[in-house]
């Protein structure tokens, strides 16, 4: 049995109170808990207080934006997102991506905001405490060395949020509440290049909602994984064609999703092949995953009827 470390719990019903509690030392936000609680059982985190977002009405709201588009509350579940007629009609790739997260039960628990804030993952990090300690820990948790790149100085834990590549192509704006008011961050600027500091938001910020602009050109989305359910991605690709520009996001190959643009499909594929450098963060070999970048991009373009 993997008991949770002990902590205090608060489930405020008021946004200002949520922001205040989130800013207290040792506090950590929890929504569905599908990523955080297993990590806490593995002793990756030991917050002194968990603050639940699930009872704050603003975080459960879904409404049209005044200038078109959709505002999705951060604590709306992935299953709810995938099932919404407006999402299925205007943002089918987002509905598809939400439906590829883990399993249907986890989609019914996990939230869209939680997916945006998902911790980066690595085979040396997402392990029980005893496993990690036996190896002397790693850069992202309790050790001095990265086992993926022992000579490097950084952490390469992979961004693994299934819905984010699509949201990057949709140019979603991520709205945080802080003690000093709201902050809008374009989702493409949210992630940093090191697996330890992958989220570029100050502590105490509370993700309130995701603002999705009006729908544009269709997006093809693909998730490569070992099985048809449960597994985290080995590779994520999302592709979009707007006028003379081909855009893609390639993810699960490093701490931040890679967003690339080119003026033709072959150039886009070559740009991705030049940029993407899979490492041993996953069980699948880096060489195989690199080959699959070309394959998955071609399949995504075929789905769009281009390339």
């Amino acid at each position: 049995m993997l008991p949770l470390p002990r902590f205090d719990f608060a489930d405020p019903t008021d946004l200002a109170e949520l922001v205040r509690l989130a800013g207290e030392p040792g506090a950590r936000l929890v929504s569905g808990g599908t990523d955080l609680l297993p990590s806490m059982k593995h002793r990756l985190f030991a917050p002194t207080r968990l603050v639940s977002t699930m009872r704050v009405p603003e975080l459960r709201q879904v409404e049209p934006l005044p200038e078109g588009g959709l505002s999705l509350g951060a604590a709306v579940t992935l299953r709810e997102v995938a099932a919404m007629p407006v999402v299925q009609r205007d943002y089918p790739a987002l509905a598809k991506a939400a439906r590829t997260v883990a399993t249907p039960t986890i989609q019914a628990m996990g939230t869209i905001g939680g997916n945006v804030m998902l911790d980066t993952r690595c085979r040396y990090y997402n392990q029980p405490a005893g496993w990690r300690v036996a190896l002397g820990g790693c850069l992202k948790c309790e050790g001095p060395v990265c086992h993926v790149a022992p000579k490097g100085k950084g952490c390469y834990a992979a961004h693994s949020a299934d819905t984010v590549p699509v949201m990057m192509l949709l140019d979603v704006s991520v709205v945080f509440a802080t003690a000093h008011g709201e902050r809008h961050v374009p989702i493409r600027e949210l992630y940093g290049v090191d697996g330890r500091t992958w989220l570029q938001v100050p502590g105490g910020s509370v993700l309130v909602r995701l603002e999705v602009p009006p729908p544009g050109a269709p997006i093809a989305y693909r998730k490569l994984r070992a099985r048809g359910a449960i597994d985290y991605p080995q590779l994520l690709t999302a592709v979009q064609h707007i006028h003379d520009t081909w855009r893609c996001v390639v993810s699960a190959v490093g701490p931040a999703p890679l967003r690339l643009e080119a003026t033709s499909p072959p150039e886009l594929v070559e740009a991705a092949m030049a940029e993407v450098q899979p490492l041993t963060t996953h069980l699948a070999s880096p060489a195989w995953r690199k080959k699959l970048v070309r394959v998955e991009l071609a399949r995504a373009m075929a789905e769009l009827g281009i390339g």
Partner: protein
């Protein structure tokens, strides 16, 4: 020092009030103080689905659900599935098709199917397989589980 909370909720229709620690999972509360050991303790990290219960009608992995988060909720476990008149059609079909070998995953599968048939009684083969992606079985190879699920679905459809 974490503060314990008094949790009030219903389990299989019965109101329950008990003191819980914030770090206790719903699974620990069900199997411990409530003695409802039908819900199984599998991987403990939300991968396997053996601990699946329904909370307010939606499937939940009770091993990664905080009990304190269930204040006011309606929890259904495998113990609440059968009626005095007999087993649920899903249970009867699992029995009929020998869809359980060691049986450890069975309560989770039954709860997942209860939710599926309540939400989408006409689920097609792809939807059935997608829903069962939430649960792992290491004995049966899934064929008999799928057969039992299809039979149970037909019985559910005939009843309504």
């Amino acid at each position: 020092m974490p503060t314990d909370r008094i949790l009030s909720f219903t389990v299989n229709g019965e109101p329950v009030r008990l003191l819980v620690e914030p770090a206790q999972t719903l699974l620990e509360v069900l199997r411990g103080p409530l003695r409802l050991t039908g819900t199984k303790h599998g991987c403990d990290v939300g991968d396997c689905g053996a601990c699946t219960v329904l909370v307010d009608g939606a499937p939940r992995l009770s091993c990664i659900t905080l009990a304190v988060g269930c204040e006011g909720a309606r929890v259904e476990t495998i113990e609440g599935v059968a009626t005095p008149a007999g087993p649920d059609p899903i249970q009867a079909a699992f029995d009929h098709h020998v869809a359980a070998q060691c049986g450890y995953c069975t309560p989770g599968f039954v709860m997942t199917l209860r939710h599926l048939f309540a939400e989408n009684p006409t689920a097609n083969e792809a939807e059935l397989r997608e829903a069962l992606g939430s649960n792992l079985c290491r004995c049966t190879g899934y064929t008999k589980i799928l057969t039992a699920a299809r039979e149970a679905q037909a019985i559910y459809a005939g009843k309504s």
